[in-house]
Symmetry: D3
């Protein structure tokens, strides 16, 4: 997945503990400890699948820690890869092993898969809409608290790119910084002189005037905030050859094509991760 | 908030660490360590607010751990209470204190508030639709991994009720358990004899036939899965005086009134928490 | 064991760290790193064995983390199962492998096994005394802090049943709640309207008068606190067909038969877990 | 308490989490969030009190994390000090503050206090029995897993002394080490040459012959294991002026005086901590 | 300090636990629990001080968790600021409060202060040597495991700058990457197309030929590895106006001036943090 | 390694997380996920090697958690053992496996190895200088915070011995304790009566007068602080047959022979661990 797998395991473990707590009372009462079964994860709607390895991690952890019987295992076999465009009825993965472990992990695994696939699906739709323009679709820091690496991974699966991962790995000077620092020029200069080696300086601009200031201050990239396509276009032209450009604010399926056609380099979309529609999936025991 | 505050603090701390990591490079370069400011959290759309105490916890943690200056504080004053129905422009909270800490906490606090308010808003809408029927709207375990206590709290703020918190605090015998246990009767009997003192036995039924079996097995509550309003009505009548009833599966704003009017006791809605539309909020430095 | 094995491993790990800290100085000085041996865990007194899987977990953890040599292993073979009624001299388990790891885990493993077997032994004795009555023996929350899941597991091994696991998975309205809530009626009503789906309402009653109030309030179960057998009998009759009954308070081997013969459904016994007599066991290197 | 308070807080926090989990459902439904009360912890039996500061820590943590209302506090005022010999009816502490927090902490606080006071009470009884002899009563590593620092503190409160805290802070060469090392002489020599600066070498001896070997090997202290008073006496005389002596194994109230009168320096008693009878205490809301 | 204070507290806590473990046996036996004192931290050698806030954190933690008496405090008053150039005998800080807490924290606080001041001192010396050239002195990832944020903070105190904090916040393509990727051109292109928004691409070059390739590939910065001053000079000239330059490898006090005078933008020095000479400091109780 | 391997794994994990954080951006962009390679760790200077097992642990953890591909492995084969005296060019270990994992662990593994080998090298040099005298070289608590068990292990690899591991496992009464306790006599008496079974009492003495007091108080060992060789010699003679002796303070390669020739039993050297010169090592991909 090209993510920190140790962090994925921690996230999975917390999710399982949250759901299982002191134990799965229903299964412990109704499922024999030695019971094994075969189950499938099935798509109930159309969309782009993301998170299969996370689901596999869930069942491994469930078997390791919550199964009724020591040494219980769940064998998880993905039938497709992340990025697969599924249709209703497609089998995404097959599981065989401890019934108790499969049922203990079911809801948690689906919660991850449905959210991540929902993000990938939406991203893929937006990426498709602007493919002809060369504009990159990027995410934001508007992710579900605690799930950022998974949310951002799902954006990549959907064909999007990642903006910074957090406050620590990029400089983005926003309106509030500018106000407190006493203007774009001062803020950019301060950032340029002290930024750790290897980081660009990006500045938010809400008007053509601010774009000009940012260019004068020699920002590496300019975030064009909530501009109309016309203004955006003007800004993009101003920046050509001098700074990279990013459009941001109120981007939706309705307006993204116009935005992309202004020539901006990237378009950031908060809704990719802050307003996710889960993809409908289910797990069924088949024998 | 009537939730485990220790757990809230842990969730908040992890969310901050995820975002801030080794430090907020932009603020550390552009904001003087001693800078203080006044800021507001403002509604940009209409909805039911939930999570103000979580936001307060974020800023307290940010001031305590990520502020540029030791001993920095952020004073967070909620201007409304959770459950408040906000309109565009309403000021939800005022913050005064360390600018660096306010900016360090901004995105994380909004991520919590926007998700929780989104959940409360949707719940309130559904609760309003069925108010005349006496049916309770309840949530499910389809929550964002790691955020269950907050998701479920937001449901309560919106006027909904909580189903079980996890696999540990209630018995719910679903189709998979029934299959493996060898029938509803066997499953219910096993559960009744071994359940920890104080737990009811709820059983999922997908047909009138299964409802009858569940009643014979003396289940305390029956989950009526994905039934048409007509079948649902019949099932509810069968159960009257013998078991509580819960409607579940594919519930939406379009069909919830009809479902509620069948007389079911509770209606569980996964989309309350698995497909959240974030409420639009922003934080602005005002001086 | 049908317990959360992840939690068992955490408990075991903390216990080992507490005992071994920066290392086992004696073994590291006197036992060659490559030394292997065969050892046995032997009963030194008569009782019901519980906790063999916990002991296995101890030695696995000891081998994995505290052994003198990387890759050292301890092979733990239980010779009996939990629930076995042991006599002096019975071999309960055989161990082969790293001498350093076996000695590092010895005391911790025995501390678990001796406590858990002590609990199972006492429970079995009480369960035996009331077998003719149908009354269930249940535990309480009076467990050793941090060891509740093991204490409660040991009760089940001894033939007892579990009361709630904590404050989170059942409603039990006690005298202090009643006082603050303003009476049994108010407290039960509040609990009935808000309890998470699937939980019964149990109420403590210290007199016949309170039993009547609890029945009127339609409590699901009534805890009959510290009543004489005569009063208990009266209370049980009042409740018949209307609520389940639990006898509690000052239960001992001397009075438990009389209590059980009143017809109460369950008898809760704090001493099962708060005043444990460790079963005498030892570990011996045999070659 | 002269113990690692950070560790005490961790132990307390785990115990509270184990009991409260996702929340105290009963109190949250029946106790108004703003309710405050006054309560007392009262002795229901005679004994030596230990653990008041642990109880205070429990209520502070409960108020901080599980109270219904943010900022809730519990004021805990001990009325006696650890080591106090209580009689039935004595008020040991008074609490005022959040009712929800007091009830959330009640059982956990009592679980600590009752166990620790039980240990102190038993220790005090044994110490009293041998006071005329000069023999010290010491504990062992047979403590409840995870509670060693509290168990050992309670022994000190009862007038006993502590043996080593774990495998890391003292050398004690037991029968198993001797066997593997190839005799007492070899084991002691190895230990003497490599022990970290500041540690004595103690050796277990089960016979007069072994005592002699240990003396020849110049052990600093000799553990006389399971010897009859007559043999013990002989061993003590042999060791006089050459090594300290410790009697161990099967020590009880019936034989401890005889053992002490042999002149041994210390007597170690596993039952002090492995077979604890909880002291009967209760918490009552008084207004 | 402009570092993640939460992380500093974790580092401090681990260091204290490592040193104090189950308790400070010497102080608990020889220092009355109520004893308070006044102490000073004093320079025993000349150098640049760094880490006073870390030392303050140590004593706060020691008072909070390891003091003999509950509620014990240590008041830490820095007499100079980080960056102060101390001479033998200078008082750097004064402490008043619990003697037990001061002694519990003494060694740990000095271990931090002496290392950090050693780093700051060495950095300041190198920075002074090249001041006339405009070259920045930067650190590397060759820090003591677990102490990176402190090591890098100390470099800043000494007047140096920070290279990347880890593998996560900058792209640095080294010889091993180039070999596996199949050449500088391919590696830089891959990095340019996929790097998270905001990161520059730096490439290591060991020869003029590689410098040319890196320039052609349009790297943003070039690390000039282990070049002689003459080659370095040539490389710097090639890069002028096209890429930033960093000299690295075998930098010492003997050759740094010549390196700086080649016109490189930055000089990275591993020895700043991998071979630290602790500054001699002591803590003395003065009354 | 005869150290707590669980603690080593924790230390390694923290170090890797510190360096890798949200991911290795360079490798993820330039190294194919499936790439495997062969690499060597090579000595670039002469010295005693220590920490090979720590390096192995680093690569295992890197493969397990940070590799680009699930199931990736790194096979680490040490070519020498800890304690080996390496010369420039010696191959210390060979690695084969996931290129991404090897590069993710490279810097962290070298940071451990270089520091530990630096400590072992310096220790071995001092041990060699005093070999003819019988004096033991011991370390102190002046270790890098968080790395004590590794620092002390490296001292043993170099032929030195360990002083106490922390404040918890030995009694060392220093000047500050003496002052507060009211003199050597009082301090030693208090320590003797209360020390946990198995610990010696060591006292610091800065003059012959204090040595006499310590002897009268019957200290087991006397730390002779910062004495000239002449005074030291006198002190050692006074102590002969009555107490062990330790020389401490300002020990260096220049004066250690003279100190050792006074006949002291042990010489403690803070610089072994507080002022480490990293041994120069490198990792190279060879195919």
């Amino acid at each position: 997945m090209n993510v920190n797998l140790a962090e994925v395991r921690r996230i999975v473990k917390r999710a399982l503990e949250e759901d299982i707590g002191s134990g799965d009372v229903t299964s412990s009462l109704t499922i024999p400890a030695a019971s094994v079964c075969r189950a499938q994860i099935i798509a109930r709607d159309e969309g782009v699948i993301a998170g299969l390895q996370v689901a596999a991690t869930v069942f491994a952890a469930a078997a390791d820690t919550y199964a009724a019987k020591k040494g219980a295992k769940v064998h998880f076999v993905p039938k497709v890869e992340d990025g697969f465009r599924a249709h209703r009825g497609d089998v995404l993965a097959e599981l065989t092993g401890s019934t108790a472990a499969i049922l203990a992990g079911e809801r948690t695994a689906l919660n991850f898969l449905q959210r991540m696939s929902g993000i990938a699906t939406k991203t893929a739709r937006l990426v498709g809409l602007v493919k002809h323009t060369g504009a990159k679709i990027v995410d934001t820091r508007k992710t579900a608290p605690g799930l950022r690496i998974l949310d951002k991974y799902a954006v990549r699966v959907g064909g999007g790119s990642n903006h910074r991962f957090g406050l620590y790995d990029a400089v983005l000077i926003k309106d509030n910084h500018i106000r407190v620092a006493g203007g774009i020029k001062k803020a950019v200069e301060a950032a340029k002189s002290g930024a750790p080696q290897g980081m660009n300086i990006e500045v938010e601009a809400a008007s053509i005037e601010q774009v000009k200031q940012a260019l004068e201050a020699r920002a590496d990239m300019i975030l064009l905030d909530n501009m109309s396509p016309a203004t955006l276009k003007k800004a993009v032209e101003l920046c050509r050859g001098r700074a990279l450009t990013e459009a941001s604010g109120g981007v939706s399926e309705r307006n993204i094509v116009k935005i992309a056609e202004t020539g901006v380099h990237t378009i950031s979309v908060g809704a990719l991760t802050h307003s996710v529609k889960a993809l409908d999936l289910s797990l069924e025991i088949v024998s």
